[in-house]
Symmetry: C2
Subunit: 235 residues, 2 copies
DNA sequence: GTCGGGGGTGACGATCTTGTCACACTCGGA
DNA sequence: TCCGAGTGTGACAAGATCGTCACCCCCGAC
């Protein structure tokens, strides 16, 4: 296995593939090519490229579909994608970014800029904390974006709520004492008697809706984040 | 090297060391012991334990000092520490947590609880994103706590400010386009013309003070986070 | 140097966030 | 069953946060 980064070039136009490929190889990368959506997906699985240059317009499955599919697979989710869009097609760029592209470049583009973008993307991918997420049941914490997805739906939490819930979730199954929570989230250095925590737990529970059951009270100690025990169903 | 977790037991009382050690070994851990602060530090460096049970009261260097020293060293910073404090000494617990202990346990304690806490701590350490931080120059982003340290001083940023700065910092050296920022931080899906971004950049710069130079304008495109070029000094 | 457009700045009001309180409720021990 | 401590809840007000605007300044093209 080479130690060079491998870039997959997915475009139905051979000219484009050659131009891009030549420049990337000159910049020190290995390249693979694909001419349509299905080939792209197949190559991704076979070669596991470090980044993908993906044309929007492709026969069969277009770039949007490919990108979306890549993002839905745990194994390919992390691969950075640069999407090539038609000139000035703002719609395309937006759609691309929404499907999970990491960058876009409008055709026609200068090969030099493409190389720069690929380099930037790889650098970023190397820096990015690979696991800046925490998943527990329907909860998905995005630490980098300070966002929470609950059952696939983005939740609108305040900073305090996010910190509180994340603290509890990161200690799933443990009783977290009130004092400790107040220290970690509020920064209180002394033991205080306050209803602030209760109030915020209540607000959190309201927002969490049906999933509020994950946030349980440990009377006399604190709170605990754990999978709700299944309810016995009467027959 | 064994695949068991190695626990360092630091206590000047031999009885305690034996009791704790026996229970931990029974729970499937390997153990090492240390009887004072200096031995503790030496053992940490030699054996690189996965967790430390650390008594507050120790001759020479006490638990607080040891803990603080561990936290200041890049190589030992991540090792979870459970501090053993005298009964009801709230002061000790607070001091311990402030020096960076991850948990505390009051003497006398039940061996069973200690084992449970060690297990919890190891589980947590395994889960915790090892690199949930981003450091660039004087900037230290704590993604888990959604906090920023600037030159060692904690900065009080709002959620928006944190997201904005972190986005730029995570793309250090790259021009990040206005549209992109608005998408990532504000979630705008369409191109809008707004001065919102400018205003927030201004607020950020105010808070960053002398370090505001890292946040540079790329006229016509967006903003860029990069090390300020050294100022030529007249002679 | 002039001009035009993009960016910086200060101010303002709408809204959100958050700590506190009073009161209701619940759990668990006596 | 009764009681008390601990917790849930709704309301409120202070303060923080945020988007917008008007105005000014500066950069860069010509």
């Amino acid at each position: 296995m080479s130690d060079k980064s491998l870039i997959l070039i997915a475009d139905d136009e051979e000219d484009v593939r050659e131009l891009v490929g030549m420049n990337l190889r000159r910049a020190g990368y290995d390249t693979v090519e694909a001419a349509d959506g299905l080939q792209t997906l197949a190559q991704v699985r076979r070669r596991k490229p470090d980044a993908i240059v993906l044309d929007v317009m492709m026969p069969g499955r277009d770039g949007f579909g490919v990108c979306q599919e890549l993002r839905e697979d745990e194994n390919t989710r992390h691969i950075p994608v640069i999407m090539l869009t038609a000139k000035g097609q703002t719609q395309d760029r937006i759609a691309g970014l929404e499907r999970g592209a990491d960058d876009y470049l409008s055709k026609p583009f200068s090969p030099k800029e493409l190389v720069l973008r690929v380099q930037a993307l790889l650098r970023r991918a190397a820096t990015v904390v690979s696991g800046s997420e925490l998943k527990e049941g329907p909860f998905e914490f995005d630490l980098s974006g300070v966002k929470l997805n609950l059952g696939g739906q983005p939740m609108d939490l305040t900073l305090l709520e996010f910190k509180l819930l994340h603290l509890l979730a990161s200690r799933k199954g443990e009783v977290v004492e009130r004092d400790f929570i107040l220290r970690e989230v509020w920064g209180y250095t002394e033991q205080v008697r306050t209803r602030t925590l209760d109030t915020h737990v209540k607000r959190l529970r309201e927002k969490l809706g049906e999933h509020a059951e994950w946030l349980q009270t440990s009377r006399g100690f604190g709170y605990i984040f754990k999978e709700p025990s299944p309810v016995a169903v009467a027959v």
